[in-house]
């Protein structure tokens, strides 16, 4: 399944959170950057997603996707997909235009670039949410886990290459991975969603599986980022 997405607006609240504001509200100067950034980002983005559903089987060391050579490795993914008989691989991206926009902004106006970066992160989450909506509509009688990103917990980011190949992501979405396992375009998300016949009692998204928990500024203040 591949689809292009039209974003009509961006969720400022998310972007403001990524900028470290917590509960504080930005002043007019930063709000102006958000408005300008939103306009530029919506013009430059070519948001798309692709997903593919596989039968999932717990095996030694991870989850095997039936009919493929890929085994999603680690305990985190085993826990995440516990009780699921299927797993959807989802990739969502804003496209290369946003990378170019952010590169130029970093030369022109670093504050605008930082705001664009945060807006981009919010936007790609919005694309993921749209993909999830699509999935729920396509599989009406199934229950879904939350989106478990490559690199969360002990699910290795190094599996991104194989993950993208199964989605034909380079041809379908123009997405690739670098030697250091960064995604290109930058604002790209790759994640796994478990599917089951029964309601899933899975742990909530939160600090436990977050790789940033040791350095997180929110946690240091006794706060939560809200994810």
């Amino acid at each position: 399944m591949r689809q292009t997405v039209e974003l009509n607006g961006l969720q400022y609240a998310e972007a403001i959170r990524y900028l470290g504001y917590g509960d504080a509200m930005p002043g007019e100067d930063v709000l102006a950057l958000l408005r300008a950034g939103e306009q530029a980002l919506l013009a430059a983005a070519t948001p798309q997603f692709a997903y593919r559903v596989f039968s999932a089987q717990a095996v030694q060391g991870g989850i095997a996707l039936v009919g493929t050579q890929l085994i999603l490795r680690g305990n985190s993914i085993l826990e995440h997909l516990a009780g699921c008989d299927q797993a959807a691989l989802l990739c969502a991206t804003l496209g290369a235009g946003v990378d170019a926009l952010t590169r130029t902004a970093q030369v022109r106006d670093m504050a605008q670039a930082v705001v664009l970066d945060a807006l981009g992160s919010a936007a790609v989450e919005q694309v993921c949410a749209r993909a999830e909506e699509h999935m729920r509509a396509s599989f009406p009688n199934r229950f879904f886990t939350y989106r478990f990103g490559l690199g969360y917990g002990d699910l290795p980011l190094a599996q991104a290459g194989e993950f993208f190949q199964l989605l034909d992501a380079s041809r379908a979405l123009g997405v690739a991975v670098t030697a250091g396992n960064s995604f290109v375009p930058r604002k790209t998300v790759a994640c796994v969603i478990g599917m089951s016949e029964r309601e899933i009692q899975s742990m909530r998204k939160g600090c436990a599986t977050c790789n940033l928990r040791k350095t997180c500024g929110y946690r240091a203040r006794g706060d939560r980022c809200g994810y």
Partner: protein, 791 residues
Amino acid sequence: MGTMLQARGLPLGGLPEEMNMTAPQMVQEIHALYLAAGADVVYTNTFGANAYKLSRSRYAVTEVIEAAVAIAKAACGQAQGERRPLVALDIGPLGRMMRPAGDLSFDEAYGYFKEQVLAGRDADLIVIETMSDLLEVKAALLAAKENASLPVVCTMTFERSLRTFTGVNVPAMAMTLEGLGADAIGVNCSMGPLELIPAIEEMRQYTNLPLVVKANAGLPDPATSAYTLTPTDFAAAMARMADLGVQIFGGCCGTDERFIQALHAMLLKYDFTKVPPRPQVTHTAVCSATRAVVIDQPRIIGERINPTGKKRFKQALQERDIDYILDQALEQVDAGADILDVNVGLPGIDETEMMVTCVQELQAVVDTPLQIDSASPAVVEAALRAYNGKPIVNSVNGEETSMASVLPLVKKYGACLLCLTLDENGIPQTVEERIAIAKRIVERALRLGIPRENLIIDCLTLTVSAEQDGAAQTLQAVARVKRELGLKTVLGVSNVSFGLPNRELVNSTFLTMALQMGLDLPILNPNIPAMTGAFRAFKVLAGYDRSAEDFIRHYADTVVKTSVSGPAQPAAQAEAAIAGADLPGKLRHAIEAGLKAESGAYTQALLKAGTSAMDIIEGTLIPALDAVGSLFEVGKVFLPQLILAAAAAQASFAVLRAQLAQSESAPISRGKIVLATVKGDIHDIGKNIVKVLLENYGYTVIDLGKDVEPQSVVEAAKAHGAKLVGLSALMTTTLPSMESTISLLRQANLPCKVMVGGAVLTPDYAQTIGADYYAKDAKAAVDVAKRIYGG
């Protein structure tokens, strides 16, 4: 081929190319099916047979490709029919993204493709297909042309927007690949034939090459992902392509031998004699990968990226301050430049390396086509190789050595060329002699196969204060080149007024006169409103700017001063306000509030009032930044505001630097710091935030960029004698290369401290890998710098 192999048992995610080794018979049978269906060309099963994609295979590139070519040849050998079918070596995208978006360098990409080309030398032709990055196609095409003598077909994949995933548009693709010597170009994959009609309609306006369409079987059904066209519908839709002059036809995703059979049957019956001949493309045009500029009306070439006579620019080159050069580019583009001249020649710097760096960095941030300006053919060639698109080369002249060295480069890389009408005897006085030189160059270029429309003649502007009749000679020469040679013309405009007062007035008048004589490409400083104003006004008066749309957009809000002795102008009022009391307090407030323009203006005023640059920095700039930094630390001010304050300080620093460069004082620096995002990591926004802050505390930052080799960090730290090195990494996967960079720095025994930062780092981990400091954010990095350098 991939779909066919999957239908025959290739597991999802498996490597289709391995089947050449494990199931050659099966691959040959698939070829045979297509040949029996009437195919004239079969693509080898080598789409992903490159060293990157096969890195997880037990087979090597060469054996896989040699086997694939042998299999395809065997299938062709057994084919029935009169015509011998051809074997095409199929080359797909590498699967890694090239810089600047990704981490793959041009030379690495070239190396991968070269290996494929050499292994496939027994094929009859080479196809480079399903590409979305023009620079990757260029690497592949050059690898093919330089390592084989086979015809090369290039096809790219476009979205509905008629752009590829990386933003390449159809005109840029067509003119670049034709220039680089492709034998046929076109579109594959993407969409169905009907959806591809607009792409082909556009492509034929930008190339004279044979056109190729290898379409999908329509669009995939959103629910089932199955393709929508039947073989008969597909063939009927492809007939529309033949109507447009397409000569090579094929099927991509969702098609099989039945589609090729239907296509073959349609083409057998198709009456090609009824197809009207394609219009010949003869316009002059240049492009970047994402923007084409057709010289069908006057266009501005911005002249500011050039160190000649500019102290600040020379300093930037010596300090490798690439951001300064990028700023110069953006400023000119904003002011109205259509093309940017790039000259970075300066004694004492490696011009080749600097030119290539600038071309790459400029192309990462502006889509404006570039004009490569160097006297050295080696520099020109290196830049032509690195350039993504079709540039202009500045320049060749009538001297034998110039023509012999420059013309072959321009031919090989398909660039446009500025031809200076001078030779070993200097600049001729008369129009006649200049025309003669132009003719000589044109004749030589045509003999080499350079298309006439790629030649742009420079009739040379002389300084009117030295040779008053020179201007008239130049203008007449422009008119005659247009009339007699039918070629485009270029002139550097700014030198005409040298030695005269009110140079703008002379320059803008000369510009208007030259445009009226037929000048197409004035080289000028677009930041001077009088020049762009004269240019835009001319375009209205000459009928290029229809309905004066562009002119009105630029000048609708302009208030024209009609008298110099009227009431006080707003600017004067502002100046009066600035000159008031407590300038340092005002500057401090402007920085804290992130007000760029005000910061610059107050700094200017402070300098005027006699405050020294160092006093401004130590007394006002740094305390203001410190105040914002402290608020940031306690969560009262957030990242965007911190950066806004830094940017305001930057505006202040820019004023101080310009002043110091003018007075030839030593540049301001509180110490040198080398910054890099480590090898393997392409996330540089965090590092760039740190850089902005450090620079605005007065430190000189040597920014090595992203994905930096450990050795380069060591070399830079050594060369600059930096006491502090900052390393950034965002990914857990790139932390090891941070560690190896630190250990290499230690091995080199350099007296420098290392600070590290990045989302996944912890203070503990920083210590484990041997860093001296962990900086949790940009403010913390400044605190480290203060500890090292004091202050």
